[in-house]
């Protein structure tokens, strides 16, 4: 039998020291190699199975977009900047194009506005289905996750026919969109898909959102109140779950949203269950918006701005100035700030992802006192997207 002091001595000789933290606590890496966090790491200081302190550790996906965008011409940046947020691929394209449109002073034609709005709404629906898949896998209800992935596949097939690729569509460009809609058949298929997903929503309710197990696991944990959320810069469904009706589509309308009729759901409790239920209500509202858009039918006309400067894209110059554009994505308020000095490359492009507000400080404060099994549930209810933080 070897005594403990001999073991400690042998460990020290081989360079494996045991560094205890404060009394009775240990360090746990809730690291990137985990099915619950996606490429994000949290350093936890645990006491038994309760968390005492948490530190968020981003930086696994940092590619330096803001520096790379300064070295490429204006139109090439679309192919680069859209890789920022993968579950929702159209949002970075849309904000960059809107900012450059404002700098140029263009008026985007109506057909292009209709197409941009439809593509943004389809991206929102597919992002919400992706979120339902993630939530179901973390709660243990694997059936609902597989359904959500299957319905998302139908939207991916529609995207592929419209833009040419499933995930990275290089489609929304400054001045309009790149290609026209491939005919009436695509519109009919979209209508059928929207009706199909709408008819399957009661199944999701039955399994996930009206389930006693979900309520027991998610109620009362991760509570935020209104003042805390506003001071910490939280936007999106997380803020609407605390009682503030802030939706960019209503407050700073862009594209065709002034003409559409939809509700903005608001709840008051501010815990993880409220955040999950808000996303379920918003999925229903997004399907309703798509129905209205399809009933409106796309207006006829050009789908791109007709400008002779667009004939020579690598030498395309934008007048000097700066512009800010933001869009409501499923995670929150996604914004871009573009500065130009009159050259053929941008001078500064800053992309503000919504997770930088609720992924770092809010997470560190909400995790104190939670059990180890609550950590993935809190993370998923906040809908953290790590590439937004790292860019």
């Amino acid at each position: 039998m070897v005594s403990q002091s001999e073991l400690i001595k042998e460990a020290r000789e081989n360079g494996m020291e045991l560094l205890p933290l404060d009394k009775d606590t240990y360090e746990l890496f809730f690291g990137p190699q985990h099915m619950a966090t996606e490429n994000f790491s949290i350093i936890l200081k645990m006491d038994g199975h309760r968390v005492v302190k948490a530190i968020a550790n981003p930086g696994f996906l940092h590619r330096g977009f803001e520096k790379l965008a300064e070295l490429r011409p204006w139109y090439t940046n679309i192919a680069l900047l859209l890789r920022i947020c993968v579950p929702e691929p159209d949002v970075p394209e849309a904000i960059y194009s809107m900012a450059v449109d404002e700098l140029m002073g263009w008026e985007v034609p109506e057909r292009a506005q209709w197409i941009r709005t439809t593509v943004l709404e389809m991206a929102r629906v597919s992002a919400y289905l992706f979120w339902i898949m993630g939530l179901s896998f973390k709660l243990g209800v694997y059936t609902a996750g597989q359904w959500a992935a299957a319905y998302r596949e139908r939207l991916m097939a529609l995207f592929e026919e419209l833009t040419g690729a499933r995930v990275y569509h290089i489609y929304t460009i400054p001045g309009g969109v790149r290609r026209d809609i491939p005919g009436d058949k695509w519109l009919r298929q979209l209508k059928d898909t929207v009706e199909y997903i709408k008819s399957k929503l009661p199944d999701f309710d039955h399994l996930v959102f009206e389930n006693y197990i979900t309520f027991k696991r998610m109620e009362g944990i991760g509570v935020m109140d209104k003042k805390f959320a506003l001071a910490e810069g939280v936007t999106g469904p997380n803020l609407r779950a605390t009682g503030v009706p802030y939706d960019v589509r209503r407050m700073d309308p862009y594209l065709l949203y002034p003409e559409l009729d939809f509700e903005v759901p608001v709840l008051k409790e501010g815990d993880a269950l409220a955040r999950a239920l808000i996303r379920r209500y918003e999925l229903e509202q997004d399907l309703y918006i798509l129905e209205q858009l399809l009933e409106m039918r796309p207006p006829s006309g050009p789908y791109k701005v007709q400008d002779p400067r667009l004939k020579n894209l690598p030498r395309f110059k934008v007048p000097a100035g700066d512009a800010f554009a933001h869009v409501e994505s499923t995670k929150g308020d996604f914004g871009a700030y573009v500065v130009s000095d009159g050259g053929n490359k941008p001078y500064r492009v800053q992309i503000r992802g919504p997770s930088i507000a609720h992924g770092i400080r809010v997470l560190e404060q909400l995790l104190v006192g939670a059990r180890i099994a609550d950590v993935p549930v809190i993370l998923m209810s906040l809908d953290n997207c790590p590439p937004d933080i790292d860019r």
């Binding site: 940092h62 803001e66 520096k67 070295l71 011409p73 700073d252 400008d307 001078y347």
Partner: protein, 190 residues
């Protein structure tokens, strides 16, 4: 669209009289802050310019005037003028307006220091860590300046987003590859 410039000028002057709500808001804030300048850019976008040492008073004033959310702190590196421009982007839910607060500080690393605003808007702590890691702006009073943020240990003191950081030669030295790419090429026509 080809003669868009003059038409835009005429249309803009005509509709600037319509932005009364934004004009009233700018006037109300400028009354209490005589050291600042402000103007209305278009509907729901206003802009202020503030000297560097009065930023805390100005942000406290904005907070009392219902600008609840701070969206971002952006650093723009003007190499030719030798200055950093810090843009604080604020959004007000009650007034439905976006306000940009701009100020300039010198660009040298030992002179680029600013007071922190994290007691007025707590989220500014994260934004200041971001600005410090990439540009080297030091915010006094923020105790998380030394904490590792996004960059790894190898790039910690290099401040890679500055305009005089030569990225291609750094990449060649670090990864020992890309020898076939010409350093003198200025426009990458991809």
């Amino acid at each position: 669209m080809a003669n868009g410039q003059e038409e835009k000028g005429g249309v803009k002057e005509m509709t600037e009289a319509r932005w009364k709500r934004e004009q009233a808001l700018v006037q109300k804030i400028l009354e209490k802050a005589p050291y600042a300048e402000g103007r209305v850019r278009r509907e729901r976008r206003i802009e202020f310019k503030v000297p560097a040492d009065r930023i805390r008073d100005f942000l406290t004033l904005l907070k009392e005037n219902n600008f609840e959310l701070m969206l971002q702190i952006t650093v723009v590196d003007w190499l030719k003028e030798g200055e950093y421009e810090l843009v604080y982007q604020m959004w007000s839910i009650t007034h439905r307006t976006h306000a940009m607060v701009k100020m300039r500080i010198p660009r040298e690393l030992d002179k680029a220091r600013m007071p922190t605003v994290k007691d007025i808007y707590p989220v500014a702590e994260t934004y200041e860590r971001d600005a410090h890691d990439f540009y080297g702006v030091y915010f006094e009073g923020n105790e998380k300046m030394e904490m590792p943020w996004i960059l790894d240990d190898a790039e910690q003191g290099l401040f890679p987003h500055r305009k005089d950081f030569d990225m291609l030669s750094y990449v060649k030295k670090k990864y020992k590859i890309l020898d076939r790419f010409d350093e003198n090429k200025d426009n990458y026509v991809i």
